[in-house]
Symmetry: C2
């Protein structure tokens, strides 16, 4: 018995959500433009029912059905409305959804909840969809059952374009995964799915005109036109436009496997290697694009069409004498001019198909018409620059979810801040909104949700809510609430990690592994790339701790705040200190339990040093507290040793950062500053 | 800061799985008939591939695809077989699946794994399906990657009928939930889904001949014939027969809403109340059943057809003078004779449709032909009795999952034990196997998996593995492993609880609620029924702690074993004592953190006393240990008080049992026996 009974770990959890939501702040995200709280609450009982008055719209009816199903899931109540009774919630929209949603439609709504019922009214069904999402967030458990508080909400978005880009090229993302992410986007009132359908590593949209695009350029994983229509209808039902992107002339290797004659250099090419790009000097290229864009323009009903245009690597242009000849013959100065020439011709094709061209920063060129939209990934300056030149723009710089930034950092980025703050009102009006971006180098269907959510909800708030909604603590509190709601929608951003940890550990008890996973984050920015030896293998398994770790550690954030509180109390807050000690003891003792688990798994062995670092940090923090408590100065040698441990703990291990290092350093260094 | 930062709970987890699986026992469930371990292991790498040799069968091909997908999910490896390389696993079946699976088909297989490859051979595709499931269970993470150990397995089932009954009448279970449960059944080599399609509370199978059966008798929740055919095909692909049950003449209220003329008493009836049963004295009843059974016999291809026949409440027969007159006129003695008359006529209809009749114990009657099968729910005696009389039988007594028994109790029930042990070999041969039963009074699509799994895996083992496979510790260890596998298949028996707890608590941090949930179990047997005031409301929400609690508490089992170990060491095992103290401290401190959470939720308020009891048990256990450690006798008054606490803790609260009470009582009572 003794041999098999092992105490594996003590898991300590601190929460910023311990108390029920205060009456002064509802757990709404994005925060509505205006919230006026009343008194009392509307009970959500088994007799709950919804009545749609005003215009009838199949999408709105479907939304009400989804709403009821979701509310039933969130409450666990199988609703059984009583025939003949007044509806609990009435929904009134003056107008139905447009067959194809347009940029700039009225998305406003008004939601009034009293203790006897709720009314949702909106000029359009689009606004009504948003109001239903708000109602779902209002309902909470109370001592008297589930209820929505009495409230009057008047709401409309700050920006008309609030999108999420999902790259499906580098790793294919199946339709059902996209659908659950559309559900999540709708829950936080986002209205554009930017579908990055082609890139070097895979062409994902079926073309019947050019079947080799997916036939040779996709490894068999792509969306049929039927699936694409289905996804667009799914998005439309949720008030979400679908913006297709076909990246050109760069990022286009996948096009050229099947059609090497369009390339600027000699083929053949494979999906795995080479940097071929389109040849803008040959008429065949435009003949191809005429047909291709005509086909895609019919398939995708949205008025906007994204042609990429970013990061054109001109090596193939440089080394092709005919292209160089073309550049000189046309009086161009460089490759940028050649790309501008390409974009002008491309824009005419796009416009001929009644679409408005969207592209990344690099397409900005005075010869392009003012109708185009520039999406800024390089910085807020380029967004402002475009606006100054009269172009409409979208901000994505600062919203790259794949960079693994903490939510607060994304949240602080405002499309109207930075260089944009100095624009004239007319110029500011050209900034349509923004898009978060989920580039897919390091995701699978299993972990992509956790790379997008819940952080994306905070970006959604930035784009919807008034500019002065900026309180970070409030944001985190509300994001935790919306995160639970998103799980009820079917997203697996929280839930998938457990299975991944079980897989790595190979055992039923993973509590000590969870302790480690809770305090690490993947390395930031493009540092994971630089750890790779040679080009990224996009077919490699993504089944290690770095793939399961959440981009932001709630535990580390909570622990950092706790240490901050303790320091600010002049090291006198005993309750905080007791909590800090509990954490530190947990970490100090964890490695002894985790070590055998790490050793028995090829997937976890590389994490051995970070588990040891965590144990040393725990010990260092506890000793630092002991010195503080006893009022003794820390011995110099001890302090030097501990700071060495801390420096070592700052270095990534297996692509992971130990995010409790800085607060422990604060404790170790506190001794001097505390006056002892 | 101080106000919102709250340390909610310390979660301590003990595991019986701490060390990797020992080489002497593989985590297989059900345990194969013969396992011979070799040396070395077969690495599962990205190049892993399967080749099917021998007979080609679409179901086997589909199974290999599912197998590969599941192995990919379990390992996180996207397989990319190398063209031209030898397959890692070859699968050879001599014969394909029968179009309709037959009772008693050869299900054997042989699986040989060496360090260079694996061969699976079987006389039938059915055996090959089972072998694929075994291979999935062999693969584990090792220090050198995922691998299957070298082994030679020769396997076949002990019983030919290994089923699970799922009641879909009392609570409707959607098709997708049934499908994931079929996946689970296939994983543990069960081969019969007994589909309890009608009962008082709902008629769930569409009849085109008698549309009012579901039209009025189902509240709109039923399976169309298309869905039924789809489910049967899904089951067939997994080697699972589908046995339909239409319960009659009792348990038949739902039939009689639309067809009150078939009832023994005056209608009309509603789904909610009354105990109407079929009238066996009128020819109209048999005319109805002729048509109905003809329709259903075509819809369900299996050779067997279950007519229920249990718990006929004769009140309506007693109070109907015409029925009493019929009984006397035909020389019958009582209602049992009338039911026997009904069953004889019914059997002829069933046989005319080329089906073999199956029914519960009560149908046993010498006038019925020996072809019928009797399913015993009342006890092993009635199974033996049926066999003595020459009838084939199935055991379900002892396998009722809805009674919330611990797994070990089900596991100890053997179809050949009890009265059956004394049967002759010929009589024993009549015992075909058994079925677990999931009656649906207290389940929803959300928690039904947790009521079935993982306990059902142990029943599956009882019906598949050799009779001498009875080690309970081994069973629990292997069941924990298979439980993880089942989650990869899509079952939510572990995963759903988290969301349910979040729903009740209404907060992101539920760690203190988890501590309580981990040590409680729903009341056993039919005690939940007796807590109901009046008839059960089958439409009520099932969203309270009793609905989320697992039927068996792993924590309580582990703690009980730990205390046992400590007691058996003569109270000298200090490591065990330290672990016991950690648990007890956790529980003693938990209520202070949990109490505010319970108070703010109408769903949790009723659990307040059990949380307090847990705290008191924690304190009592700690004090008892202190007395033991100090070698002091426990004061009589103290002991009397603690035993009062223990008695109080034994009483169910809100339908929940506090399952750590008995081991704490052992500690409190240890003081006397320890010789102090």
């Amino acid at each position: 018995m003794k041999n098999i009974v092992t105490l594996i770990a003590i898991v300590v959890l601190i929460s910023f959500l311990a108390s029920a939501q205060s009456s002064s702040q509802l757990n709404l995200m994005p925060m509505p433009a205006s919230v006026q709280q009343g008194s009392g609450q509307l009970p959500i009982m088994q007799s709950f029912s919804v009545e749609v008055t005003g215009t009838r719209d199949p999408s709105l009816d479907a939304a009400v059905q989804r709403f009821t199903k979701q509310l039933s899931a969130q409450t666990g109540i199988p609703f059984r409305p009583k025939a003949g009774s007044a509806a609990t919630l009435t929904v009134h929209a003056d107008h139905g959804l447009e067959p194809v949603q347009k940029l700039g439609e009225d998305e406003s709504y008004q939601l009034t909840v009293t203790d006897s019922g709720a009314q949702l009214t909106a000029p359009t069904a689009l606004g009504a969809l948003h109001g239903l999402e708000t109602f779902l967030q209002l309902v909470t458990i109370t001592p008297n059952g589930f209820a929505a508080p009495a409230v009057t909400i008047k709401d409309q978005p700050r920006f008309q374009w609030r999108g999420t880009l999902i790259d499906v090229s580098r790793h294919f993302i199946p339709i059902d995964v996209l659908k659950r992410n559309l559900d999540g986007m709708a829950a936080v009132k986002m209205n554009v799915l930017h579908w990055h359908l082609s890139d070097d590593q895979g062409f994902r949209a079926e073309s019947k005109v050019f079947p080799k695009l997916t036939g040779m350029g996709s490894d068999g994983m792509f969306y049929t036109q039927g699936e694409i229509r289905d996804l667009i209808a799914y998005a439309h039902d949720r008030g979400i436009r679908v913006l297709p992107e076909f990246d050109m002339p760069g990022h286009s290797r996948s096009w050229l496997i099947g059609y090497p004659e369009l390339a600027s250099g000699p083929g053949p090419f494979t999906l795995e290697q080479g940097d071929p790009i389109l040849d803008p000097t040959r008429e065949e290229t435009y003949k191809f694009l005429e047909k291709f864009i005509a086909e895609m323009a019919k398939l995708f009903p949205d008025a906007y069409f994204h042609i990429g245009g970013d990061e054109v690597d001109g090596k193939q242009w440089d080394s092709n004498p005919k292209i160089q000849e073309f550049i000189h013959a046309h009086g161009m100065k460089n490759n940028q001019d050649l790309q501008a020439y390409f974009n002008q011709r491309l824009e005419k094709i796009v416009a001929k198909n009644h679409k408005i061209m969207v592209g990344w920063d690099e397409i900005l060129h005075p010869d392009l018409p003012k109708t185009i939209v520039v999406q800024s990934w390089r910085g807020q300056e380029s967004l402002a620059l475009a606006a100054q030149k009269g172009y409409r723009g979208l901000l994505s710089y600062g919203y790259y979810l794949d960079l693994m930034w903490p939510t607060a950092r994304h949240y602080a980025v405002d499309p109207m801040s930075g260089a944009a703050a100095n624009l004239t009102p007319e110029q500011k009006a050209l900034i349509l909104g923004g898009e978060s971006c989920q580039w897919a180098e390091w995701v699978t269907p299993e972990n992509v949700d956790s790379h997008i959510w819940p952080r994306n909800a905070a970006i959604a708030e930035r784009l919807w809510s008034p500019q002065d909604v900026t309180d970070v603590n409030s944001m985190y509190t509300r994001m935790q609430a919306v995160s639970l709601e998103l799980e009820w929608l079917g997203l697996i951003h929280n839930g998938a990690r457990e299975g991944m940890l079980h897989r790595m550990a190979g055992t039923a008890d993973i509590s000590s592994l969870r302790v480690l996973a809770d305090v690490v984050e993947p390395v930031k920015d493009y540092n994971r790339w630089s750890d790779e030896k040679g080009p990224i293998n996009f077919h490699a398994p993504l089944n290690q701790l770095i793939d399961a770790a959440y981009p932001e550690s709630d535990t580390a954030r909570a622990f950092g705040a706790l240490v901050q509180q303790f320091v600010q109390s002049g090291f006198k807050d005993q309750a905080a200190e007791a909590q800090i000690r509990t954490w530190l003891m947990l970490w100090r003792n964890n490695d002894a339990k985790l070590h055998p688990l790490l050793q028995q798994s090829s997937l976890l062995q590389e994490d051995t040093p970070i588990s040891q670092n965590l144990a040393m940090l725990g010990a260092a923090g506890l000793q630092a507290l002991d010195y503080l408590d006893k009022g003794l100065p820390e011995p110099d040698l001890w302090k030097t040793q501990q700071l060495a441990v801390i420096e070592q703990s700052k270095k990534p291990v297996a692509g992971l950062l130990l995010q409790v290092t800085a607060p422990v350093q604060q404790l170790v260094e506190a001794n001097a500053s505390s006056g002892h």
